[in-house]
Subunit: 126 residues, 2 copies
């Protein structure tokens, strides 16, 4: 633990999440920052940003990790739980503003729900 340092690389990653409004896969991130920072560095920065509640992660349809900017989350708690959408045509991944209805299961305690929607996005439909 300790203070989180505001390095050049951290700034670059942060800037990206402020620019883009969709989510982004870790493969694309590694590709995007190729030459600017090391693969390990990207993974480590994403881990730290997630710890701090600045980004959240989820798995795409292929099981690959994706990240998106958080809203109203803090170091202590991730509060913006929502579904994610992945376009099967162009691959775009997005956060979806919609409250997930968690089913009650007898004798089980459900703590979390992850909903991944797949289909065709507005651009690919047109």
């Amino acid at each position: 633990m300790g203070v989180v340092r505001n390095t050049k690389s951290v700034k670059l990653v942060n800037d990206l999440f402020n620019e883009i409004h969709s989510a982004i896969g870790v493969v694309e991130l590694v590709e995007k920052f190729n030459g600017q920072m090391n693969k390990s560095t990207i993974y480590r920065i994403l881990d730290r940003l997630e710890d701090e509640g600045r980004v959240h992660s989820f798995l795409g349809v292929n099981g690959l990790k994706h990240y998106a900017k958080c809203h109203d989350c803090s170091k202590s708690e991730h509060v913006d739980i929502h579904p994610h959408f992945q376009c099967t045509t162009c691959g775009k991944v997005e956060c979806v503003s919609y409250e997930i209805k968690i089913p009650r299961l007898s004798n089980k305690k459900i703590e979390q729900a992850q909903l991944l929607l797949t289909g065709t996005c507005e651009v690919c439909l047109a």
Copy 2:
């Protein structure tokens, strides 16, 4: 393509899915059949069984592939779409009989929804 052959290995895998009633991860499957059949064979059999609508697959919380027996599915269509539950204490993974309510998103066509629930199972709660 061609006929699907009822080999010794296929029988073993099929028998397992008839015995167990929970889902099972591919890692456990490889471990379980260690010495009886090759890793590649397991992956290939699972692919074929899924094609035929005898098992269905989904990703667990770690992004690892899991399989469970199908009900009322055929080679042409997988009809038993449902959420899955994974116990964060014992790791058990199960199919959940519950109809997923798919949200309508403006300008998007949603074709599929995958819901993964995580929490504590009845055994681990007691």
